[in-house]
Symmetry: C2
Subunit: 230 residues, 2 copies
Amino acid sequence: MPSDQHGPGNPAPASPSAPPPTPTPGTVRPGGRTARTRAAVRDAVLTGLVEHGYPGLTVEYVAERSGVHKTTLYRRWGGVEGMLADALDLAGEDTWTPPDTGSLDGDLRALAQEILDTFTDPATAAAPAAFIAAAFQSDRAAQALRGFYDERFRRCAPLVARAADRGEIPAGTDPGALVRAVGAPLFLRLFITREPVDAAAADQAAAAALAAARAGVYAATPDTTGGRMA
Amino acid sequence: MPSDQHGPGNPAPASPSAPPPTPTPGTVRPGGRTARTRAAVRDAVLTGLVEHGYPGLTVEYVAERSGVHKTTLYRRWGGVEGMLADALDLAGEDTWTPPDTGSLDGDLRALAQEILDTFTDPATAAAPAAFIAAAFQSDRAAQALRGFYDERFRRCAPLVARAADRGEIPAGTDPGALVRAVGAPLFLRLFITREPVDAAAADQAAAAALAAARAGVYAATPDTTGGRMA
């Protein structure tokens, strides 16, 4: 990722795994004061989430931190849940695209590495982890998180199409299923079994996803993949 | 799972995925009053977690709910974190063993189905989901969760050894890696991307884990698996 996509205090790459703590400067849509207000509120929401968790996030906190009046916050976002969902929507409006290394193996390893990098650096891990935690307590946060990942999987469709065109996997392979498979063992270790993640775990996740995709497990009709290779 | 392992109010099977809300009667170790006190505290902790989440769980709540005096709670468990960790330890002392269907494919599908069943029934899903959520807020809960899953993976070693003996997968396949692979896509949907899970997702998770295991991805030396098949 080019370094000019990172502003000061915006250390997170826009990974497939997680919303960045703050958007990269080039991705903030023009809109003057409204866009600036939205960004200020998002920054305050993320800071509050990371520092206090969802139960400690209040409209008062966001108002004080963002400098946006409480009346405006209630009018535009309805309350904490609306601000949280909008912060995640805003994170999903970045310019992230999946890797394109020339091989599916390389692409999946790069994806796994992006997830590993995001979550092994406390500076980039805090905000996405806080969003994932908030979704346990807020249905609206859960909805927003689902929308964020839906969009990430959608963006990975060309990666999977290229691999099918090269004959590496069956045509009709489901991009969402393949990309989920790369991330799943890493997220499991990070947030369910609470085990460490490292480069070996990332490579194993990519290799397993590749093996399953080659075997046709993620194809629409896995039993006929032999005849459907590009 | 035989129905006599479930007492009233103990609806959760002891799955590979999650601690049951309360232990099955046959699995409570003998110990008279001490064991009963421990179980009462565990029940109160789980009820409190499910109803109020970790931030709302207090020693006062557990004392009132369990009938165990606050002084005893502080003396034996130190506080909320100790009670939470002990509740998870107690859940891990059950008699769960992995499926043994005669084939690795059948075993992995049965494992995935157990996870699906646990988390699609609100009665059995609540407590494990609350533990997973608590681990975001308590390092001690995270440690206890890791210990719980370590033990689950350990118990799956015979399942993997049987498959290697039958020549279905390379000898030296890592049980933890294989069992993690079965659960990971389901836990990802449930707690990260917040997508629905169903029988198709469970079967796909099992099929992907099987394909990767057959390809030697989880073997100690994946590049030499051809020569290491049992």
